[in-house]
């Protein structure tokens, strides 16, 4: 792998940019690997990367039915934060956030992490109490957050109407170290690093069956033939239920569509991320100047990667009340992704009923922020059979009543 650097750009500029090589190889699959990861999105690639980096396991294939990072990794609103209420959540999301800080250097790939600050608006008295509680919890967890009043909100985001009749801004939970990153670059950076370690990233290869011998996984059947493996990691977000069915067990997840959209690009007007959870609207301005808007999830099971019109209307209607200047913007694109929701709105990083098979899913509406932490924990679980970050997120917690209840605390869309 050629290192990317200012010198490399200068060198290539001298020779008409003819020296760049492909960022990752596209090999044909071998017949057997030590580890097969299904799903080359952020979480799957991060799992493979940390298997190689932290545990030296590099005989790994990452297989993907579509193209790299074409699922939810390329469909989110790129928000990174770690202001969760419960200790296991704060631990893994804070690990992820801290890994994002050094990711560009670590991968030698610019993921454009921008710690511009994330503000979660409190627009009801209930939210004020909830976020003050989260602030206290975060202090104990060592996550830096602060509850700020309406005046400071207005100072940070001048375009906001804090005195709206229906959704007045009563304050906000402010995490100055949160922010955004470029989602495609995260997938590409990990893929490049994995490929450099000798791993195989195999695109356009769908898993159609899981084979086992004596209760342990032996191979996966794919559209490019059968691929043997000693260990299998399933990291496929919205389609986790389907893969689990192929592997012979059922998951406590349901798949629904979550939508987002971007406006036409405008001049810089907002340099933080604003999340308005009461009205299910998430807003930030991309480096291109587009206003990136995340909306609410549909309530019914859905695999179509497009959501209901009503949710766009609902999100935009309420955002316009809080940000009146948005009313004049034209929307450029709208899209949906299939998110896998668990009963307690916390993820699953777990062993499964099938031996040597592991699953990482259930990130619901907030998986992007967790990518490096999730990969770190999943890699440790797959390599060692246990992981301090992952253990609380076992899929058996539902049977045992050990919920990690973030459905209200995190204020995420659901």
């Amino acid at each position: 792998m050629k290192r990317y650097s200012a010198f490399a750009i200068a060198r290539e500029a001298m020779r008409q940019h003819t020296g760049w090589t492909k960022a990752w190889a596209s090999p044909e699959p071998r017949t057997h690997y030590d580890v097969v990861i299904v799903g080359a999105g952020g979480h799957g690639l991060a799992t493979a990367y940390y298997l190689g980096k932290n545990f030296g396991i590099t005989n790994v294939a990452i297989i993907e039915k579509g193209w790299l990072g074409g699922g939810n990794t390329g469909r989110n609103t790129t928000i990174i934060r770690s202001n969760y209420l419960q200790d296991p959540s704060a631990a893994i999301y804070e690990k992820a956030r801290s890994l994002y800080e050094t990711m560009s250097q670590d991968l030698n790939y610019n993921v454009m992490f921008s710690p511009r600050g994330v503000m979660m608006l409190a627009q009801t008295e209930h939210e004020v109490r909830g976020y003050k509680r989260t602030e206290m919890a975060n202090k104990l967890q060592g996550v830096e957050t602060r509850f700020i009043g309406p005046a400071e909100v207005k100072r940070l985001v001048p375009i906001m109407n804090i005195e709206g009749p229906r959704y007045p801004v009563l304050g906000a939970l402010w995490q100055a170290r949160g922010g955004t990153a470029r989602h495609d670059a995260v997938a590409w950076g990990y893929a490049r690093a994995c490929s450099d370690m000798g791993m195989h990233v195999i695109q356009n290869c769908e898993v159609i069956g899981v084979e086992s011998v004596g209760g342990e996984v032996s191979a996966v059947a794919t559209t490019k033939g059968t691929i043997g493996c000693k260990k299998l990691g399933i990291v496929v977000a919205g389609h986790s239920g389907h893969l689990a069915e192929l592997a012979g067990f059922r998951l406590p997840v349901e798949s629904v569509a979550l939508q987002a959209m971007v406006s036409e690009p405008i001049k810089p007007c907002m340099d933080v991320v604003v999340m308005a959870n009461t009205v299910h609207g998430y807003l930030s301005q991309s480096d291109k100047g587009e206003m990136v808007i995340g909306g609410g999830a549909d309530h019914f099971n859905n695999y179509t990667q497009r959501g209901s019109w009503m949710h766009i209307e609902e999100t935009v209607r309420s955002l316009v009340e809080t940000f009146p200047m948005l009313s004049r913007l034209k929307m450029l694109r709208q899209w949906g992704g299939i998110v896998d929701m668990t009963g307690d709105r916390s993820p699953i990083i777990s062993k499964t009923p099938l031996g040597n098979t592991f699953i990482n899913c259930g990130w619901g509406t907030g998986g992007f922020k967790a990518i490096p932490g999730s990969g770190w924990a999943m890699a440790e679980l797959m390599a060692k059979g246990e992981s301090p970050l992952a253990d609380a997120f076992s899929m058996y917690r539902f049977r045992e009543g050990r919920f990690i209840d973030e459905s209200v605390a995190a204020g995420v869309a659901h």
Binding site: R250, L251, S255, F300, W309
Partner: protein
């Protein structure tokens, strides 16, 4: 936007008039059942790619619960029927089989 017909009052309306209530035809496991049965009843939904039987409520209409067959890959609604039904009625099953011959049937 789904267009749904309430089998109770006969009104056809957009999905905003209805609310979704999750998977239908669940068999209840309560006291006396095993941990695995109770867990499955509480959390392990089928979540299929394809034909899905589900509960809906005509929330901003007659207020009644009813059941529905819908495709989660195409959002096609195969039909709605009364909530007092323990498994999908034959006419709905026939309609689904006509539209999707590869469907394995209700199980």
């Amino acid at each position: 936007m789904l267009l749904l017909t309430c089998p109770c009052c006969g009104v056809t309306a957009e999905e905003t008039e209805f609310s979704n209530g999750g998977e239908a035809h669940l068999k209840r496991f309560g006291p006396g059942s095993t941990d695995a049965e109770y867990e499955a009843y509480m959390f392990a939904r089928k979540n299929p790619r394809g034909v899905h039987f589900e509960r809906w409520r005509h929330a901003y209409g007659c207020g009644k619960w009813f059941l529905m067959a819908r495709d989660t890959m195409t959002l096609e609604v195969y039909g709605t029927y009364k909530a007092q039904t323990t498994e999908p009625p034959a006419d709905i099953v026939d309609k689904i089989k006509a539209r999707r011959p590869e469907w394995e049937g209700y199980k």
